[in-house]
Structure formats: C-alpha cells, structure tokens
C-alpha cells in the first residue's frame, strides 16, 4: 500500500496483486468524479491522478457541495466518486443517501471511495455505513490513491489502517449481545486480516503472512465491509459517540 509494495509489485504475480499495481496497465480506464469543497485539494488530486495516459484515471467532473455533487454524478455517471466526508449541505453521507439508486444500479454502478482528513470515527464509520466502498486519508500518495480507485472500481473494498482500527474497535465492544449473529460478529480470520491491515500490511503481504491468496484476503475484506454496512448493531453508532475505557 505504500512505496515499497509498489516497487515490488512488478515482481509479484500481477494478476493477483491488483490491476493498478504497475501504474494502470494498458486498456485500464476509470472515470472519476471528485467531490471536495476545497478547490486547492481538488486541484492537487487532479494533478496527481488526472494524467489519464499514465494512470488510467480520467476525472470527468468536480463538485464542491452536496447539490452540485448529486447533479454532477447523475449527469456524468462515473464509475468511482472520490467523496469528502465534510461537505457543505449535509456532508458526504447526504450525497450517498441521494445517490443510493445509482449505487444499486446493476448495469453500471457508481461506487464511492471516502477521502477525508477527518479523524473522528463517527464521520468515517458514517460514510462507510452510508454505502462508501472504502476510506482513505488525504495523506495517501498518488499511486496508492490510483490503486485504491481501481480496487473500488472492481467492486473491492479499500480499508486504510486507520479505518481497520476503527472497525476493530467498533466490533470489539461486545457488552451487548449481537442482534444478528451472522452479521454482528467478525470471524477469527476477518479479525486477523483487519489487524494486519491496521498494522500497515498490504494485501499481498497479508496473503503471505496468513498463507492464503490475495483473492481470499479481498473476499475477507469485502465481507467485513458488508457486515459494517448491513450490521444492525445500533451499538455501532452508540460506540462512535461515546468511547469509553475498557
């Protein structure tokens, strides 16, 4: 997920390591909309990932608030939306709510990747539960961001170490019995995978560490995301507001 991984990426099995590992292969193309209320940040991201020939990312639209975002997304139908958590007009959650029909589209679903500076767990968990496919911090490097965009486009989930930490934290507080046994518990394997993500491991490294394939790692991560989004633990929300000592 950070520089050395990328350097090693060419040596590893390119297929399993993800499409963008080698900087977006030929034929790879993804249409992206940037939603962020800071113009400077949009410009920066645009400059970093917007060279379509090199990265395979084409920025087809930008928006600075919720209304604009909904309009632009509906009009351009991108494959991936980079969504800021804090936005004038209701925040990223509001955009997700109003774009819900687009996300469910089977033909060409619009997928959201939350991109935020926020450290507040309830913000982050909020957008994930709203339907975002992942969350990365704004300190992420350009190459990593491109990787994440492609991963989201493929329908995979993107967990930054910090998000993995939040999720582990949320699912760890089990003083109330889970409402839905299947959803409200992470399997041992899922916890292990999350822990390794939180420790800064890339998918490929996790696969090596646990002697499983990268595909399996991906499916674990997607399962966690699904649980997070579908879980009816009201506790999750409560946890976010009142974090207490163990």
């Amino acid at each position: 997920m950070s520089d050395p991984t990328e350097a090693n990426g060419t040596a590893g099995s390119a297929e399993a390591a993800g499409p963008a590992e080698s900087g977006g292969g030929p034929g790879r193309h993804v249409r992206v909309v940037l939603v962020d209320d800071h113009r400077m940040f949009r410009t920066g991201v645009q400059a970093e990932i917007g060279q379509t020939e090199q990265t395979g990312v084409e920025v087809v639209g930008e928006a600075a608030d919720v209304d604009q975002a909904v309009t632009v997304i509906t009009a351009t139908r991108p494959e991936v939306v980079l969504l800021d958590v804090h936005l004038p007009g209701g925040g990223g959650v509001e955009v997700l709510r109003r774009c819900a029909p687009l996300m469910g589209d089977t033909e060409q679903p619009v997928r959201f990747l939350a991109l935020s500076v926020s450290d507040a767990a309830e913000d982050v968990i909020g957008v994930i539960r709203g339907g975002a496919r992942g969350y990365v911090t704004k300190t992420i490097t350009g190459t990593d961001l491109v990787n994440s965009v492609f991963r989201v486009q493929e329908g995979d989930a993107v967990f930054s170490p910090r998000l993995a930490g939040f999720v582990l934290d949320a699912f760890a507080s089990t003083d109330a019995p889970p409402v839905d046994e299947d959803l409200d518990r992470l399997t041992q394997r899922e916890r292990e995978v999350l822990r390794l993500i939180a420790r800064g491991y890339a998918y490929k490294e996790i696969a090596k560490q646990l002697y499983i394939s990268v595909k399996t790692v991906e499916s674990h991560v997607s399962a966690v995301l699904r649980k997070l989004q579908l879980s009816n633990r009201h506790e999750l929300t409560r946890w976010a507001t009142a974090r207490r000592l163990v």
Binding site: G165, A172, A198, V246
Partner: protein, 429 residues
Amino acid sequence: MSEAAAAPLAEPRPPRKLYRSSDGRWLGGVARGLAGHLGLPVIWVRLVFVGLFMADGLGALLYAAFWFFVPLGVGGVEAQKPPSPLTETSSDGRRRLVARRPDKGQIVALLLMVVVAMVFVGNVNLSGGARAYLWPTVFVGAGVALVWRQADNARRARWAEVGRRRRTVTLLRSVGGVLLVTAGVSGIFVLQGSAAHLGSVLQAALAVLVGITLLAGPYLVRMTQDLSEERLMRIRAQERAEVAAHVHDSVLHTLTLIQRNAENANEVRRLARAQERDLRTWLYKPEGTGKDEADEPTTLADAVRRNAAEVEDKHGVPIEVVVVGDCPLDERISAQMQAAREAMVNAAKYGGEGGAVQVFAEVEGKTVFVSVRDRGPGFDLGSIPADRMGVRESIIGRMERNGGTARLRAVPDGGTEVELEMERAEKTS
C-alpha cells in the same frame, strides 16, 4: 451622617468600581461590598447602617437604594486580597467563617433586623392610624427583599453554574414574595377603608393583570427565547474564538518556520506533521480528556500517541498510529510503553527511509499487543554484536523482566516488525 455614607459614591476612584459582594453577605451584600470598596471592616459598615436605621429608617432606605442601584459583583472584602489569605486580619478570619456558612449569618441578620425594627417601632411615636400601617409595610418590605435576593442568587448561580437543581426552591421563594407583597398591599387598602370595595378592587386588578399577560405574554416569551438563543450563540462564538486563537497562532508560527526552512524538506515535513498532530488533538480529541497538555499520560492510547509524537519530532520520520481499545496504564503496561518507544526510535533511525513507521496497539481482554513496523532494509538480531545491548536489553529484556514477550521479525517484503505482548495487571474492569 448620610453624607459620610454617600461620599464614596460622590468621589469615585476610576479603577475601582463599587459592587455588592456576592459571597459572605447577610442580606444584599451591600455592607460587604461597601466595606471592600472603602477598605473598612464590614462590621463597621453594618453598624453604621443599623445606626442610620434608627434615624427614622434612613439606613433601610439607603440600604435599599444601594441594593437597587449597585450591581452584584465579585467585589467585596476578600476580593481585595484573594491570593494572600495569610495577611488577613482577625476580623477577616471571622468574615471567612461567615462566608462559609451563609445560612447562619442570614438567620442572625434576620433576628437582628427584627430586634432593631422592634426598637425602632418602640422609639418612633406613631399615631394610632399610622401604627396600623406598620404590619402591611413590613409585609411588603419582606416580600420585596425575598424576591430581590432571589434575583441576586439567580445571577450568582449563573456564574457558578449550579442553578438547575434549585428550581422549585426558586419558584417557592418567588411565590412567597409575591404573596407577602400582595398581603401587604391589600392590608393597606383595607386600612384605608376601602375594605368594602376589596372584592371589586381585586377583581379589577385581576382583570388588568390577565389583560396585560395576554397582551405582553407572547412578546415576553419571545424575548426570553431570543435572549437565551443569543446567549447560546455567544457561548459558541466564544468557543470558536478560543479554538481560532489557538490555531491561528500556532499555524502562523509553523507557516513562518516552513517558509524559512523551505529548502530543508525534512524540517518542513517535521513541522507540518507536528502542526497537523496539534490541530487534530484540538479538533478531534473527545471532550473531557482535556485538550490541554496533561502532564503524564494515564491511558494506553494516550501513552502510545505521546511516544509516537515525540519520536516523530525527534527523528523526523512520520509515525502512523492506530489504537484499538484503551486501558489505564499500570506498571507492566508502562514498561511495555517504554519498550515500544525504544522500538519506534529504532524503526525511525534505521528503517525510516522506506516510508512511515506504523504503530498498532490493541487491547483485547487482558492482553495488550503493540506492533511497531518499518519498511527499511530490515535486520537480523543474530548478526548484531553481543555487546550492542539496545534491542536485547531495552526491548526484549525489559519485556521479559515484566512478564511479557517481545518478538522481532523480518516482514516478508522488507522491513522489520517488533511485536510486544503483555498481560495487564490483575485488577480488570
């Protein structure tokens, strides 16, 4: 004599304003406030008031006037010298005692007033007609005093922010005051011989009151709502200003430093990271954990973050921290924290070129797990000379002495990871 009492008002000293004292007062805090203002013992002022009271009730009038016009404040005798209680005179000592037990003082004051009033009434030779008005007047006076002191209390409560729980008492006092005043005024009416018309007078008064309430009610309600809203806004604005003041200063500082060190990429990065951390602490730290720098961290999460921040500042390598769960620090965990810090220093020193150092801490049940990983060239513990004690002693040795375990291992794709595991001390939550 009245001139003597009024003198301090006539020649106001610019820097000092006259306030009624909010603590240690017996009635309205007038005497205490005056004493503080004049630099006299309270007892003298009180005696003067009592004496003036004898002069046809002048003292009472004067007192009431002061009460009415002088705002309640934190002035008063003690406010003159709060930092040095040692310099207090003996009379001051007694005053402190009174201040601690205001209720006793108030009872004494009340008794004193009654006695003085008796004497006064006895002295003044009132004609039969006038004498009859005495009790209604006393009622009115008592009622007014009751409600007025109430208003003062409310104001004081706002300073101390303890007002809520005494709602009912407040209400009772207000009602009591109103009843007293009503009784007094009615008494006067009755005495004036209009007792026959009392019923119709009361009815008319009631009608007028209802009318006024209907007319002014909505307006009054809206006014109070506006007022409380405005107060809320003010509090918010204040909070924002506080954050802004803090952020403003430190951000400008950092930006200046960054401009000056523009060629030195490492220094710029270090400054920016430090500033970011500072800002995050301010913005996202949960309420009640104290946004100010505490002296010593008391919980695991705190300790990990603090250590990481210090190492980051010192070595200029970004350290990313993820903490899951939290627990209070005990002796073993503190040892683990020291080992973790050592590991962070090593990672920053020898593995910092590969990117950020990643620190992960998790509390699961009684086990506390910390991992520190870098993406540097990696190293082999076996190849390090036996006399180099850094890792062996300060990480592995320290953990084992305290009953924990430490593992160093090479990460498959380069870099080193230090894993520290420790059981928490017996008492669990």
